[in-house]
């Protein structure tokens, strides 16, 4: 059993990070995917995660959302996410606690994952009604406002199969926002899109950053977009952060060989 007493029961202070990974280890069987990871994301910060395939980028996001970890503690908004406090000590979180603790986290996926049997509007209303317990009127008002924000109010009664990839992804963003998340996780949200519609999705993400000051963790292969929009870029390699910094430095003057190799490989692929 790992010694959890080294981790605080909660994070306080005005400068506490919105998301904090403390010595987080994730294994699948014998494969260690995240290795003692430390990562803090400040409130309102936009962090991009880049790195080669299999380096653990998706796994970082999934740990905030879908899965259990084998070591360390993750905090969200000061409270432990992966653990709960019982009798003054941290213990692994129950399924019930996890579900509550994850409510302030929204996620969008590469393949949108919209509910195909619901219209755009119903997709957005599902969480607010079923999970947050909003009345249908409130949920509808909130969802329509968000669909309007992503420019799809005229498509609200369409099923996903009638929408283009770019439109589906924008609905997915609206669906996640309808839960009023404090943190948004974006996993390669433009990777499955045709080049000509990528812009409409990145435009929405820009809006989230500029106007809503949402805390965002974004996995992406679009280096230009990451450079343009991020406060900080983390380069992942083998389940660790090999190098991180403001985009101007990480892209302009990378310090590590692996970072340079990766960036030049990506550049020549473009």
């Amino acid at each position: 059993m790992e010694d959890l007493s080294q981790f605080p029961l909660e994070l306080d202070g005005a400068d506490r990070p919105m998301v904090s990974f403390r010595k987080v280890t994730k294994r699948y069987g014998s494969l260690t995917v995240l290795d003692n990871l430390d990562l803090d994301v400040a409130e309102g910060e936009m962090v991009s995660i880049i790195g080669p395939s299999g380096s653990g980028k998706t796994t970082v996001l999934r740990m905030l959302m879908l899965e259990r970890i084998q070591g360390g503690v993750i905090y969200v908004d000061g409270q432990p996410l992966t653990h709960e406090v019982r009798d003054g000590a941290l213990v692994p979180a129950s399924e019930r606690y996890l579900r509550r603790a994850r409510e302030p986290i929204g996620m969008c996926f590469q393949h949108f994952n919209l509910f195909p049997h619901m219209t755009a509007l119903q997709n957005c209303m599902e969480g607010p009604v079923q999970v947050l317990g909003l009345s249908r009127q409130e949920a509808r008002a909130r969802s329509e406002e968000l669909l309007d924000m992503v420019g799809l109010i005229d498509k609200k009664d369409q099923h996903p199969s009638r929408l283009s990839g770019g439109q589906q992804q924008r609905v997915a963003i609206a669906r996640a926002l309808a839960m009023r998340p404090k943190v948004m996780l974006l996993d390669e949200v433009t990777s499955a899109l045709d080049p000509e519609v990528i812009g409409e999705v990145t435009e929405v993400i820009r809006k989230l950053v500029r106007e809503h000051r949402l805390t965002i963790m974004m996995v992406t292969h679009q280096m230009g977009f990451a450079a343009d929009i991020s406060d900080r870029v983390c380069f992942f390699y083998g389940g660790r952060i090999e190098e991180q910094g403001p985009p101007s430095e990480l892209f302009g003057n990378p310090q590590k060989d692996r970072t340079r190799q990766f960036l030049s490989a990506v550049k020549s692929a473009d």
């Binding site: 959302m65 879908l66 579900r99 509550r100 994850r102 409510e103 986290i105 929204g106 996620m107 996926f109 393949h111 949108f112 994952n113 919209l114 509910f115 195909p116 049997h117 619901m118 219209t119 599902e126 969480g127 079923q130 999970v131 099923h159 199969s161 669906r175 996640a176 839960m179």
Partner: protein
């Protein structure tokens, strides 16, 4: 040439008509049990409880690899030895319902597994409960691909009801046998039974396909 007697055929028709009602009741009752119990068996195999999953899995395998007629006899003749005395009707419903529940659980399982993993992840990302995840998202999408299989087994259960005659349930086959031995004529009753089965099975299969299309449309999936 066949020695077909029209007047005899018309004379026995009302009696076969009543027996048809019994057959439909047996098939309907058995199917209702199978639909609900099948879902329970399918969901039980998806719980994180390893032992439960294992026991249910083996039970389903066992039911699927032994003949229905044996299961019918078993429930009817062996259950009383454990102090459970059941009427032919009740035993028949239980046996046939259980048998088809095992098959339907596999149909449901296939349907549930056909729902992309991303749907579960989306539910998780919205913090939906397990119950809401199944009821609101997974089952509505698992249903259309399962409907064809469910329809086949509805016709299947209907065609298997004659086996209940072995324990004396007064369905069609039982009635035909009784008429035959009373009048020493089997051609008319058996032919009529065959025609009745045909007249019900064929349109049902077509209706099920129409229903399937309708459900898909209703769910906005096509």
């Amino acid at each position: 040439m066949f020695d077909w007697k029209w007047d005899f055929a018309f004379e026995i028709l009302p009696r076969l008509g009543w027996a048809t009602l019994n057959t439909l009741m047996a098939a309907g009752g058995g199917y209702a049990i199978a639909i609900v119990l099948g879902l329970v068996l399918a969901l039980a195999q998806r719980t994180p409880l390893r032992l439960l999953t294992f026991v249910v899995r083996e039970f389903v395998e066992f039911i699927r690899s032994t003949p229905l007629v044996l299961q019918i006899f078993f429930v009817f003749y062996v259950a009383p030895q454990f102090g459970i005395r059941l009427s032919p009707w009740t035993s028949g419903m239980i046996a046939i319902g259980l048998h088809y529940a095992a098959y339907l659980s596999e149909v449901y399982r296939g349907g549930i597994e056909s729902v992309p993993k991303g749907q579960w992840e989306a539910c998780r990302s919205l913090s939906m409960s397990t119950r809401d995840t199944y009821v609101r998202v997974i089952i509505p999408q698992a249903l259309p691909p399962a409907l064809a299989g469910m329809g086949n087994y509805l016709v299947g259960i209907f065609k298997d009801t004659p086996m209940l005659s072995v324990i004396g349930v007064a369905e069609l086959m039982h009635a035909a046998n009784a008429i035959g031995s009373e009048h020493y004529r089997f051609l008319e009753p058996y032919t009529l039974v065959g025609l009745i089965f045909l007249a019900i099975s064929l349109p049902s299969a077509a209706l099920i396909r129409v229903f399937e299309t309708w459900v898909r449309k209703k769910l906005g999936l096509s």
